[in-house]
Each structure stands twice: as C-alpha cells, then as structure tokens.
Amino acid sequence: MTGGSWGLARFVVVRLAATVALLLVASFVVFGLLHLTPGDPARNLLGPRTPNPETLAQIRAQYHLDEPFWQQYLSWLTGVLHGDLGHSIRGNVSVGALIADRAVLTLQLAGLAFVFTLLIALPLGIGAAFRAGSPMDRTVSVLAVVGVGAPSFAVGMLLIYVLGVQWRLFPIYGNGDPGWDRWWHLVPPAITLAIGLAALVYKLTRTAVLNELRQDYVTFARSRGLSHRQTRQLALRNAMIPIVTSLGLVFAFLFGGTILVEVTFGLGGLGALLASSVTFKDIPVVQAITLLTAAVIALTALAVDLTYLVIDPRVRQRATS
C-alpha cells in the first residue's frame, strides 16, 4: 500500500515535470516562430503613417524589441519565473491584468459548455447503445451527423434570434456582471458550443458502450444469471474508460476553441484576444495565452489519467508498479 502511494506520487511528479518541459518547449517554439513572421509591433502601434525612425527606435527600446532574440526570450522567461508575464505592447498594461478576467470568462464558458455537452450526450449515447438499431437510435444518429457539421456561427445566430429576440429569455450579447448575471449571459454561447461537441461525444459514448455490451464477459455474466441491470452497470463502468479519455480532449478543445462563439456573442474572452494579438505581434500576450492554454490542456490530460486510476484498478497497478 505504501509502495502504491509512493508510486502514485512519483507518477504525478513525473507527469508534472513532463508538463513543465512541454510548456517550455511550446513557449520557445511560439516565441521563435513569432519572431520569424514579418511585421514589427512598434510599427503596428504607430498605425499606417510612415513612422519617424527615432520614434520607432524609442518604442522598440521601450519594449526591448531591439535586443537580440535570445536575450528577449531569456528576459521573458526570467520574468515568467518570477511571476511577471510581461507588458502588452498594444494595451500598455501588464499582461497578467489583461488576461486574468478573460481567462476566467473563457474557463467559465468552456466549463458550462462541457456540462451541457455531457448532459446532452451521455444519456443519449448510453440510451442509444442499449437500444441499438431501434428507431430512436437511428433518429439520434442522423441528428448527430447534422450536429457535427452544424457551424457554430449559424447555431449561435439561431439561438440569439430565438432565445434572445423572440422569447427574450436570455441576453443577446456581452459578458454580464460577475456572478449570476455572468452565468446567465453564458448560457446561449455554451449551448452553441455544446451542440457541435455533443454530437461527437454522443457517437463515441454509443460506440464505447456497444463495444462493452458485446464483450464476452457480458455474455458470461448474463449466462451466470446476473440481472439485466447489473450487467449493464458492469458494462457502463468499463465503457467509462474510453469515454473519460475523450472527455479530457473535449474540454481541452473547448478551452482552445471558443473564438468564433466569443465573437458571435460579443464576449471578451481569450480567443478573440489571441487572434488580434498574433496579427499585432503583441508577443507577451500571445506567449501568456499559449502557456495558459497549453497548461490547461496538459493538466486536463493529467486529470484524465488520474481519473483512470480511480475507475480502473488494473491501470492503477500498472502506473504505480
């Protein structure tokens, strides 16, 4: 038992170390690639007017853009290690202050959409698997194909029109005030995100459950006289493994893929900021968002693996031995 928990601790530590390494590589790759792209943030700050060389030089010095690449990267890295994410060139504010609220909003949006996705997809997927081949199964399966292809912008507009303009149930756009109002504002965009993803999660849930139901052990359990309910529970428990794996990816995808919905619903989240910061070459902002997204994705993967351990004792044994 003691050996097991030590093993578990080692597993977590190794994974965390790997995550840090991944973040480091990602930050370097993004920093390097951004450097290679043409364009000059100082020039962008000055707008279309042909800039005066001294002004340009002064701004470049102010943001350390005149230093060699390595030095810029290292001073950025040193700053990050000291908890300073740098200074946004475009907004003239610290990056931490700039992205904190937006990160919260994007997390809330992704979280809510995740919950909606599960609420829609899991019951339908499991139900369809238990009644494979039935008219209900067929109907939902066809709807899922449409759902996968439904563009989020179109769904968003439809929701705004129906829920906001016609029924006046939800606000049409905007962040709302922190708290209850915020969540209320996030419902339509979260549904929009959930509709596309639910179709996928539905498909994979149905597949996973079907897969288990056809395993030998289920047939065996049935023949041993276990009740319908008991065999189903057994199958569901085992089907959870592939489902949980993909749910981790689904959340990560949600967190990194909110941009279209943010723009449609006039939300000030990370997605829109990332896109404009890349074209502006506001490198500190891009770096911070990259790190944050990569960290969320890596930590989600870790959480998924830990969930595995809870669900499946066999995996626990392998991981900790």
């Binding site: 991944l22 993909s246 893929g257 890349v278 994705i297």
Partner: protein, 287 residues
C-alpha cells in the same frame, strides 16, 4: 479546425455492423451529389470558363434576374457560374489535405507503432505539442510565415490534422504488431522494412481510408473557417467558403449569393460524412 484532435474513427465506430441492416441506400444517396460535385470540380474550366469575370454594372442583381438565375455578387459575378466553378477548390484542397496528413500519419504512425522506444516517444511528444497549442495560433503563425494563399491553407491543415492521423495509425499498428502473422514473419527472418511495408501497411490502410473520408469533410469546413486569417483563396476567385462569407453582406439584396454556396457546402460535407460512416461500418474497422 473542426477536427477534434485526438479522436478518430476508431472511437466512433460502431463495433458491430450486424446491428444495422446494410441498405445500399446511403452510398447511392450520397454518391449522386458527390459525383455531380466531382464532375463540376473536374470540368469547371470547360463548363464555366468565365465564372470569375464579372461586370460591375450588373452588380448586386437579385436572384431571378434575366441571365442570372441566382443573381450576382458585389462585383457583378454570376452566382450560379461561381458556385459551379467553386466546386473545384472545395474538393481539391480537402482531398489533398486528407491525403497529405494521412501520408504523414502512415509514415510516422507505423514507424512509431512498430519501432516503439525513442522514436515513439519523440513522435508522440511532437503530437502532444501540436495538440497543446491553440490551433488558431498555429494557423495564424504559419499564415504569417508562408504568406497566405490557398496552398498555404492546405499546408496548415495538413499540419493540424497530422497528429490525429499519427495517433490513429500508431494505434492501429500497435494492435496489428502483436498479431501472430507479424510474429511469424519476424521468425522467418524478414527484414523489418519488408514487414512494415508488405504486411503492416495494408492492414492499417483500412483504418486510414476511413479516417481520410472523415478528414475530407472536416477539411472542407475548416478551410472556409480559416479564410478570415488571410489564409485561403484570393478574393474574386470562385470558392464556396469565400462566396458564403462575402455574400453575408448581400443578404437583403440577394440572399442566394450566400444560400447557394452554403447549401452546396453543407450537402457535400454531410454526404462525405455519411459515406465515411457507412464505410466504417461496412469495413468493420477496429480500434
């Protein structure tokens, strides 16, 4: 960017095709529009040679105007002709993307699955890295580096699709590599390259084909979504995604300008998707 990186057909496959009656209705129903689109794509230069030419004096005509069944766009191009010619970019790019990313997937995925060890580790870390970065970021940065353009978009999507394909093929290879026939090939002293290309690859191809069909549909939608980054088809060239977005501003004047390419896009994507599903089930692809 619709590709949910990391998931693939293997996760979505109905493991038991006996569960459904195989009615050849689906391939027929999906085949008709696809053949039509393919025909337009191949022969658009001959069917509508002047699709990209417009006349500003007949700009913004509503649908049903004489000589312009679906009206014209902002610069006076005929919507019908543009939509026929638009099949070309709609089909060619996604097919190249699916082929390209699958080629990478086959090469690196079989390598990783078969060789294991350091190669496997490096390749899976590469896939992790690509999956961890926001796809918008990758697309924008690559757009800046290679200066936009249709083929640049294709390249970006190959890059974005490849980690999923690598994982898929790696998984399929792993499940094959432990099978008795590979073992016996080894025992027989066949070189590892020969084992890989003569035995493994053909068995993995089934998975590859299914993934590719799904990828074509994903790529079709993704390509149009990327055009906002300045990545994609040049303005004025016939392309469904482009027409759709340009046409949005014309809704009150000529709604057909966006509805026609929009419907074509949705029908094509759905047809390919359904065909992919059907193939999966028929072939009984396994994880």
């Amino acid at each position: 960017m619709t590709s949910l990186a990391g998931l693939g057909p293997a996760d979505l496959v109905d493991p038991d095709d006996r569960a459904r009656r195989r009615v050849p209705l689906i391939p027929v129903l999906c085949g008709i529009p696809l053949v039509a689109v393919l025909f337009c794509a191949l022969f658009s230069g001959w069917l509508v040679p002047d699709a990209a030419k417009g006349d500003i004096y007949s700009a913004r005509l509503p649908a049903g105007s004489p000589g312009h069944l679906f009206g014209t766009d902002q610069v006076g191009r005929d919507i019908l002709q543009m939509s026929i010619a638009g099949a070309r970019t709609a089909i060619i790019g996604p097919v190249v993307i699916a082929l390209g990313s699958m080629l990478i997937g086959l090469l690196l995925g079989t390598l990783a699955g078969y060789r294991g060890g350091v190669v496997d580790l490096l390749l899976s870390k590469y896939a992790d890295l690509l999956l961890a970065l926001p796809s918008t970021l990758i697309a924008l940065v690559v757009a800046g580096l290679v200066d936009g353009g249709y083929w640049a978009t294709v390249a970006v999507l190959i890059l974005l699709f490849s980690p999923t394909d690598i994982r898929m093929i790696r998984g399929a290879t792993l499940s094959q590599a432990t099978r008795p026939y590979i073992e016996s090939a080894r025992v027989l002293g066949l070189s590892s390259r020969r084992i890989m290309f003569r035995h493994l690859v053909p068995n993995v191809l089934n998975v590859a084909l299914t993934t590719m069909l799904l990828n074509v549909a994903f790529a079709l939608v993704s390509m149009s979504a990327l055009s906002f980054l300045g990545l994609g088809i040049a303005p004025g060239q016939p392309d469904w995604g482009r027409q759709l977005s340009d046409g949005r501003d014309l809704l009150s004047i000529n709604a057909a300008a966006s509805i026609v390419p929009g419907v074509l896009l949705i029908v094509t994507a759905t047809a390919i998707n359904l065909l992919g599903d059907w193939w999966q089930e028929r072939a009984g692809v396994e994880a």
